[in-house]
Subunit: 341 residues, 2 copies
DNA sequence: TTGTAAGCGTTATCAG
DNA sequence: CTGATAACGCTTACAA
């Protein structure tokens, strides 16, 4: 039952099934041009020996790795698990393996990620982070590897882009706050060096202008997209001479930090101040009070990223495309009427 | 600057550096037996061509994949990201690549995970989930692949185990509740078919016995380690004729569900009822009130899992070992004195 | 220190 | 429908 030959390979299977290695290969790859009887003998041998073809040899022989790269910032950031899962499930369903790498927000590490992708000869890469650098893009392009980015803005040959429609959700949020009587609205931005954070910020500014609300620099504070950063930034925001009656945060973690800061100062949400997050991570339903936030479906991003890649991979057209993903306001309990002064 | 030959390989590099392919290989692998001058020529060529060795060919040629498998249940379960990250960081630092797979709590999918591992010829596997099945273990054993499990209990040749010391933390929690005057302590278990859930449950029972507290079946309800399950189970627990004054949950998600149920019933935590979670996921600091919980360091689990594998991989000894990971109570604000009746 | 050449386990082409 | 056999790109004795 156990007791095993040194190296189980296609030849042993062929021998056992009394066919050539070519026939084993054809059978296992379902190429169809094998007589059913023969195929059965092959499969019996495969099962009996518990044979699993060597993926490296397969890649080398066929010239196809059947691997897709997925680059994210940090799996511990609650934004990513859903995205990873949906991308992976879609890819697996199409017979692709995933090479998942984390940049940890570090350009050096991003370079290593890219290198690992190249060494494994991935057939396409989804870059769901903004640490992407130019040199890496070139190396991928030189090798004709399709890429899909998140919010990069560029669409070229073999480069597609998932474009999150920030303005829509943010406009909804500002309109909602405006209707509740809020006129002084603060913003807790993400780190200035982060592309998506900049886009969120400018969508916010545009929203204010639409309502003819003057933009006051002191009402915009920079966080780091983490709880601590949001907490610190919110403290600054609350310390100004005329603090805002409502705060919009660049992501939910920032909002949660703000929630903490607000409560530390003895203020209540939403009675004293309204708070709106961004992303709608699981966590935002669980805070006290549950967070009003702008939803961005990570599942949708992951699925679209995969399909964008698949299209580039199978497509006759090399042209990249833009895939929009909508955002919209989800009202929960962290927002309410502006307190009359 | 761009414009690229069809297939960049070691031979092109050798040609450019005016050496043999063997020398390129030796240089890039840092085997040391290359004259510095020669090495420089090689590296120059590598850089100039932007050469990245083909990992598949490498595996095939050397007979070593340099890949470690990591099997988890579900990356969206907040228990796992920390574990994955610490395992991965440790592995990367030692030059190993990771093949991460999710079982989604599904035995069929677990089988596919195992198959993918086998095809990729991973050098070791960390099975951090309990869907592990016997057949898979045998296939791995047949191929002499080291395995490290989480809470499996078995330690054999080439099989190590990370043993979480549940009893310690649970005893601490019960002692703590006991000192606060609690005598009726309920338990929200995990799914009965989950190994680690069963271990947690029996550690709880043992803790009760130590304090001579009678075990009442109606004070033990089964959840599913998710929020909804905890919520439903807690409702059952609160509906009995003499409800408990304190509840211990099998994991934090369950406790969070319980928190919800308690509040839905107009009760307050900890004034009316005390609540203790398990795991100490990030989230447990963010609930209202912050959750008293039993900490289990996922980072430690991930690191120990990797080192267990490394030991098995490098070790002269084939013998598996047991690696304990301690748990301990973290008191926050969801626990207080038992309400006098 | 360097080069030559035989694998490694597949796939794919080409005959039969 | 099936079988030989030449790639695929690297590593690693073995020779020089």
């Amino acid at each position: 039952m156990s007791g095993f030959e040194r190296n189980l390979n296609i030849e042993l299977v062929a021998k056992k099934a009394k066919v050539s290695t070519a026939t084993v290969s054809r059978t296992m790859n379902g190429l169809g041009n094998v007589r059913p009887e023969t195929a059965k003998r092959v499969w019996d041998a495969v099962r009996a020996l518990q044979y699993h073809p060597n993926a490296s040899a397969r890649s080398l022989g066929s010239g196809r790795s059947r691997i897709l790269g997925l680059i994210i910032s940090d799996i511990c950031n609650p934004f990513f698990p859903d995205l990873v899962k949906s991308f992976e499930d879609a890819a697996l369903a199409c017979g692709y393996e995933i090479l998942l790498t984390n940049t940890n927000y570090d350009p050096d590490r991003m370079a290593r990620c890219a290198q690992r992708m190249l060494e494994r000869r991935v057939e396409g890469v989804a870059v769901m982070t903004s640490e992407m650098d130019q040199r890496m893009m070139e190396e991928l392009a030189n090798r004709s590897i399709p890429v899909v980015c998140l919010d990069s803005g560029v669409v070229e040959n073999r480069i597609s882009n998932i474009r999150v429609q920030y303005p829509h959700g943010i406009a909804e949020a500002i309109q909602y706050l405006y209707d509740l009587g809020h006129r002084r609205i603060g913003f807790l931005s993400g780190p200035a060096n982060l592309g998506s954070a900049r886009v969120r910020r400018s969508a916010f500014l545009k929203g204010l202008r639409k309502h003819h609300i003057a933009i006051e620099p002191e009402l915009i504070q920079e966080g780091n997209h983490k709880i601590e950063g949001g907490e610190a930034a919110a403290h600054k925001l609350l310390a100004v001479s005329r603090p805002p009656t409502a705060i919009l945060a660049s992501n939910d973690l920032t909002a949660i930090g703000a929630l903490r800061a607000i409560q530390q100062r003895g203020l209540r949400v939403p009675d004293d101040i309204s708070l709106v997050g961004f992303d709608d991570i699981e966590l935002s339903q669980l805070t006290g009070p549950p967070l009003t936030t702008i939803q961005l479906s990570r599942t949708e991003v992951g699925q679209k990223a995969f399909h964008a890649l698949l299209t580039l991979l199978q497509g006759k057209s090399q042209r990249g495309e833009e895939y929009p993903v909508q955002t919209h306001l989800v009202v929960r309990q962290s927002t309410g009427h502006a307190r009359s002064l």
